[in-house]
Symmetry: C2
C-alpha cells in the first residue's frame, strides 16, 4: 500500500479548511490515504517570522474576498468567522486524544471541527463546542476535558515535527516527501500522484 499523504494544518486556517474538503477525494482516486496532522501554526510563525493572514493589511483584506470567492468557485459552504483568529488548542488536543482511543473517528471529528468554524459560525475555542463535536461523530464527549501532560507533549511534538519539515503555512501537504503548500496546489498533488513526480 503506497504511503498516505501527510496533511499539516491549523484548525484556524481557512485555506486549510477549503483544502480539507478536497484532499480525501484526490487521495482516494489514487489509492492513497490521508494522514491529518493538526498543528499550532502560531508556533511555526514564532520560528519563521510568519504572520496570520488577517494581520497583513492589504493581503488580509484581499484574502477575505478571495476565500469567499474560492469557496463559491469550488461549491464549498463558507462563512468567515466573526471572531478571528481563534484559539485551536482544545480542538487539536482533542484530535490527538481521539487518535489514541478511536483513530477511525479523527477525520470525521476534524472535518466537523473545520465545518463548525468555517461554515456554521461556531466558536471551536470553547470546550463545550469541542465536546459537542466529539459527540456528533460518536466519540466520548468527555475527551474534550482531558488535557493531560502527555497530550500536550504530543501536540507540541507534532508541531515541532512539522516545523522540522519546514512547514511555514497551512495547509501543507507531503506526497512521498514532496512538499506542496496551499489549497491551490491540489492540482499538482493530483498530477504527482498520477505520475510519481514530474
Amino acid at each position: 500500500m503506497p504511503a498516505a499523504i501527510d496533511f499539516c494544518f491549523d484548525f484556524s486556517s481557512p485555506y486549510g479548511y477549503l483544502a480539507s474538503r478536497r484532499i480525501g477525494e484526490v487521495a482516494a482516486r489514487h489509492g492513497r490515504g490521508v494522514r491529518w496532522r493538526p498543528m499550532m501554526l502560531g508556533a511555526a510563525f514564532a520560528a519563521t517570522g510568519g504572520k496570520p493572514l488577517v494581520e497583513l493589511p492589504l493581503e488580509g483584506e484581499y484574502a477575505e474576498r478571495d476565500l469567499a470567492r474560492t469557496a463559491r468557485f469550488r461549491g464549498i459552504p463558507f462563512a468567515m468567522p466573526k471572531k478571528f483568529p481563534v484559539v485551536t488548542l482544545a480542538a487539536a488536543r482533542a484530535f490527538y486524544r481521539l487518535e489514541e482511543v478511536a483513530p477511525e473517528l479523527t477525520v470525521p471529528f476534524a472535518a466537523a471541527t473545520f465545518a463548525a468554524l468555517f461554515a456554521e459560525e461556531r466558536d471551536i475555542a470553547e470546550a463545550a463546542v469541542v465536546a459537542a463535536l466529539l459527540r456528533s461523530v460518536g466519540a466520548d464527549a468527555g475527551l474534550a476535558a482531558i488535557g493531560t501532560p502527555a497530550i500536550e507533549a504530543r501536540l507540541r511534538a507534532e508541531t515541532e515535527a512539522a516545523i522540522g519539515r519546514r512547514v511555514f503555512g497551512s495547509p501543507f501537504f507531503f506526497v512521498d516527501g514532496e512538499p506542496f503548500w496551499g489549497a491551490d496546489r491540489l492540482d499538482q498533488v493530483e498530477r504527482w500522484l498520477e505520475t510519481g513526480g514530474f
Copy 2:
C-alpha cells in the same frame, strides 16, 4: 468590445512570468484583450510592508522549488536567475517609452523581457540587454537609452495607480474591477470571464 483584463506585474516577478505565458490565451478565449502594466513592486512593498519572496527564509526556499515544479507542470521553460532580485527599471521605462511610439510592440517586448530573465539567464538590468530585446521585436533599440523625466513620471504614476488599486504583489489581474492575485488564480479568472462573476 468588452474591457481588457489589466495585468499588473513587476518584470522581476517569477510568478508574474509564469502567468504572462498563459493570460493572453485565457483572455483571447473569451474575446478579451490584456493590458500589460509593468510596475515597480518595490514601491508597493514600501507602502504595504511586503517583502520579496527570496527574503522570506522558508517561504523563499519553498518558492524556488515550487516555481521550477509549476513551470514543469505547465510546460513553461524556466530557470531561476542566478542574480536575483534584479533591477527592472530600465525594462519598465522602455516598455512605457515603447507604448508611446509603437504600442503594438509592447506585449512582444514584455514577453521577450520576461523570457530573457526567466528562461535565458540574461540580465535585464543592463541597458545593452534591454536594447537587444527592443531590437528583437522590431523596435528602435535607441529607446533603451531614453530615460526622460516624462517617462520616469509615467512609470511612477502607473505604480501609484496600482498601489491605489490595492495591488500588493505580482501578478495581479483585474477583470471588470474584480481583483485576482497570483498565477494560481487564472482558473478563477477564466470562470469569471465565462460567467460574468460567481
